[in-house]
């Protein structure tokens, strides 16, 4: 079986990929997908911590898994609202490129 450190490094690498996507890409939908990658990287480290922290009764720490359940729920709601905002933005400006949307830029 893999060790806790290996799971955490893989999770950190996935988070870094998502972070690089947010920093480097200019298409707002790709930025949104990269945000999902970062959320899922956090979920992976939570589940790994849960599995490696086994209590006296031989069960993993299920608090972390309940937390992951909540994160998935909130992320699904966030995707629905975020995509609705993107559609409204596209209707107003006919673009999904963040450099074309600079009204609020200081």
């Amino acid at each position: 079986m893999a060790t806790l450190g290996q799971y955490l490094i893989v999770s950190g690498l996935l988070f870094t990929i998502g972070f690089a996507g947010v920093m480097l890409r200019r298409n707002i939908i790709i930025i949104f997908m990269s945000l999902e990658l970062m959320l899922n990287a956090a979920n992976l480290s939570l589940v790994a911590f849960s599995r490696f922290r086994v209590g006296a009764d031989g069960l993993p720490n299920y608090n972390a898994q309940v937390f992951v359940f909540f994160i998935i729920t909130v992320a699904a709601a966030e995707v629905a609202v975020g995509l609705a905002i993107i559609v409204a933005l596209y209707r107003a400006r006919q673009t999904t490129h963040v450099e074309d949307i600079s009204t609020l830029k200081f």
């Binding site: 899922n40 998935i72 729920t73 993107i86």
Partner: protein, 167 residues
């Protein structure tokens, strides 16, 4: 050979995660994201979190990705034409991301229990839907109700946002 499976699915997840960022065509990015989430669900299974793994496939690889593909096709996004790249910004962004990864590696390296093997589980752990459900409807009942309100608010918000004209 569980370690081989771990590295297979971790590589699947990371390669397709990178493909999400690198692909020029949004549809290809979205389909890469599905495969990346499937690899992640397999990693959840390898951690004996069967419930979370199934939820990951149903909610993310199913519902959320259909929503993404629907919006991409609704907006009729083509592969973006090459714009003039700002190389300073690309180099800066990559450097920040790399610095973040180095930091994560340093933190994990200092973790005392990083070399732990997973402890053996009691047979009751195979019944993890029951365990998660007991916690969810017992200890975490109030947050569960609050999240129900949040989903309701999101539903109403989406309906308001997608009306023809916003006032």
């Amino acid at each position: 050979m569980p370690s081989l499976l771990f590295w297979t699915f971790a590589a699947l997840m990371l390669v397709f995660g990178a493909a999400v960022v690198l692909n020029r065509n949004p549809v290809a990015s979205a389909l890469s994201l599905v495969l990346s989430f499937l690899g992640l669900a397999a990693l959840f299974m390898s951690l004996d979190a069967y419930f979370i793994g199934i939820i990951q496939v149903l909610v993310y690889a199913g519902a959320v990705m259909v929503l993404f593909l629907f919006i991409i096709m609704l907006l009729d996004l083509r592969a973006e034409e090459r714009r003039k790249m700002n190389y300073v910004a690309v180099a800066g962004g990559s450097a920040v991301a790399l610095a973040l990864f180095v930091q994560i590696c340093m933190v994990v390296g200092q973790l005392r229990r990083a070399d732990d093997r997973p402890p053996t589980l009691a047979p009751a752990a195979a019944d993890d839907v029951r365990q998660v459900g007991l916690l969810l409807f017992g200890n975490y009942n109030l947050p569960f109700q609050i999240i129900a309100v949040l989903v309701l608010v999101a539903t109403i918000g989406v309906i308001v946002l997608s009306k023809r004209e916003l006032r």
